[in-house]
Amino acid sequence: MRRITAGLAATTAAVALLIGVKANSAGGAPRSALAGLGSSRSAGSTPTGAAPSPGRTAAAAAAAAAAAAAAANGSFDGSVVRTQYGPVQVQAVLKEGRLSSVVVLQQTDGGRSSQIDSYALPVLTAEALKAQNADIDVVSGATFTSEGYAQSLQAALDAAGR
């Protein structure tokens, strides 16, 4: 029994050390969700990638062209970003060039990730509305959703010509 206790104490210390090293292995939090995407992509561990949503893209491009002269108005779909928990896609709603709301079209699915999304998405939306762009911080515990959200929003804003 004493050996087990010693083993568990050693394990606890080792795991704490491992997490500590990992947490400090590439800068600290918080960080930009857009920046995080680049680093995780280069690490090659996350199969994130943007795919334009078919059908609506043409309309979005046309709308973007129309909006180029005047201040943008209307809804613009972002790209579908595939994260390891599932696709994330948002729609940017603009009124006179200002980002007035963000609608989530697709979110990750199943178990832990839907639970994370339920609290992370409102935070991300609030951040985006406040910043008026997609340069938002990663929500703690929702790294993949944050990155997918930011990237999809950036695509939507690009489509809006902003």
Binding site: L18, I19, Y85, G141
Partner: protein, 467 residues
């Protein structure tokens, strides 16, 4: 107090086959260390799976760290469960080189450790999730249990593992029959199967990586194959090939019987004196259970002998087995053999009660003459000194040392096998290889006495049985 010692040093006539060639290094400690190393070598890859799947920036909060710790605990526990099954797969190399007793000890310690890890995995994740989403742990636990894919299956697995852990706790284990304990233990296979589903469904280490899924599945398949091969197919094949039958039953003492067994080509089994086999007697009331019994005489090409003490687990009814009864078996197993000692050293054998069975085989088959080989046989009463006449015959024939010590153990300073007493019988004790076999409590105390008397741990070879 009978104390028989043959003082002559005439060259003895060996009755058994010449001792097998021994490897230069004593087996045992070295092999067990190698095994530990192999088990530990699996840990870094498991941690690497977590490392690769985790983004450094996501560990910014306490809750995220708790969740990470929970994931690591889960990964380690899943790996160790596999190790635990592999240890018990009766792989001949493990059983004969490392030794069944060492394997069982590792399995026990690692088992306790793993059950704690599994509990930590569940608790850390639920608390971490609750903290992160601002809910209370109880409702979070319910959410995790019912909303997450396959997690309810793993909750059943957790329950089963706790049950197995509980029945293996020493206090409970003593009250259970070997069979109940053994059959409850088989639930571990079910638990691993149930837990496997949630590892792939919600463990992103696997759901996000085909490579990890393949590696993980392959590890499970390899261990599963070893279990089927070594626990089922090999024993079945050997039982059919050697056609072992009971040829005679001899009453040796109060509650002790010897079973004489015959079979074909038994020399091809490669059984060594000191080893045991798991026996299954195909008779009413016996066929569904198997028991480990040591060979109580060096194996012959066409016959084997085991000696069994009634330990209150059905072994008493073995006395009523009829000659001709078919016997299935697994084994031989065990590293309590001549391989354990280096050739150069003189040997002391110590037997407690029914622990005489493997010692009896070793006494006859180990090389040496005169005081090269000394046996101390301990029993609570004279009539419990079973096989004593045979031992006397061997002692006289080869001029070996034989000492019997009878009486209750009493208080520490009265123990007939205390350090001073042992040294009085065998003055060069500290220079010898010591083989010790008996009930677990006895081997523990005598092991301590031996170390007090200056025998290094690596030269004390213990085979213990639980009462």
């Amino acid at each position: 107090m009978p104390a028989v010692s043959a003082p002559t040093s005439r060259r003895p006539r060996h009755r058994s086959a010449p001792p097998q060639p021994l490897s230069a290094l004593p087996a045992g400690s070295l092999w067990s260390r190698a095994l530990l190393l192999v088990i530990c070598a699996g840990v870094p890859p498991v941690l690497f799976i977590w490392w690769q799947n985790t983004i450094a920036g996501s560990l910014g909060s306490v809750s995220a760290c708790l969740i990470a710790a929970g994931s690591i605990a889960g990964l380690l526990a899943a790996y160790l469960l596999l190790v635990l099954v592999a240890l018990m797969a009766r792989v001949p190399w493990l059983e004969n080189r490392v030794g069944s007793d060492v394997i069982a000890r590792y399995h026990r310690s690692l088992g306790e450790y793993t059950v704690v890890l599994v509990c930590a995995h569940a608790l850390l994740l639920v608390v971490g999730y609750a903290w992160q989403s601002g809910t209370n742990p109880v409702s979070e636990g319910v959410t995790v249990l019912f909303d997450y894919t396959d997690v309810w299956l793993s909750a059943i697995a957790l329950g089963l593992l706790l049950l197995v852990g509980a029945v293996s706790a020493r206090a409970v284990r003593r009250k259970l029959s070997y069979e109940s304990w053994y059959h409850i233990h088989l639930l571990v296979y079910l638990a691993i199967g149930l837990a496997f589903a949630h590892e792939f469904a919600v463990g992103t280490e696997f759901s996000a990586s085909l490579r990890n899924r393949l590696l993980w599945s392959a590890a499970h398949i390899v261990v599963g194959a070893a279990v089927v091969l070594f626990r089922i197919l090999l024993p079945l094949w050997r039982s059919l090939r050697h056609r072992v039958r009971v040829s005679g039953v001899v009453q040796e003492g109060p509650g002790v019987v010897s079973l004489h067994l015959t079979g074909r080509h038994l020399d091809r089994l490669g059984a060594e004196p000191g080893q045991f086999l798991r026996w299954r007697f195909l008779a009413q009331g016996h066929w569904w259970q198997s028991h480990p019994y040591s060979l109580s005489a060096p194996p012959e090409p066409d016959s084997l002998r085991i000696t069994v003490k009634d330990l209150g687990d059905g072994s008493a009814s073995l006395a009523r087995l009829r000659p001709g009864t078919r016997v299935w078996f697994e084994g031989p197993y065990g590293a309590f053999t001549a391989r354990r000692s280096s050739r150069a050293r003189r040997v002391l054998l110590i037997a407690g009660g029914a622990g005489i069975t493997p010692i009896r085989s070793l006494y006859e088959s180990l090389p040496g003459s005169g005081s090269d080989l000394v046996l101390i046989y301990r029993a609570s009463r004279p009539e419990n000194l079973v096989l004593y006449r045979e031992l006397e015959a061997i002692a006289h024939q080869r001029g070996l040392g034989l000492f019997a010590r009878v009486g209750p153990r009493g208080r520490p300073h009265e123990d007939p096998l205390r350090a001073a007493e042992l040294r009085a019988i065998v003055p060069d004790l500290a220079e010898r290889e010591v083989y010790l076999c008996g009930p677990a409590g006895m081997t523990q105390t005598v092991g301590a006495h031996l170390r007090t008397a200056g025998v290094p741990r690596r030269r004390i070879h213990i085979e213990a049985f639980e009462l």
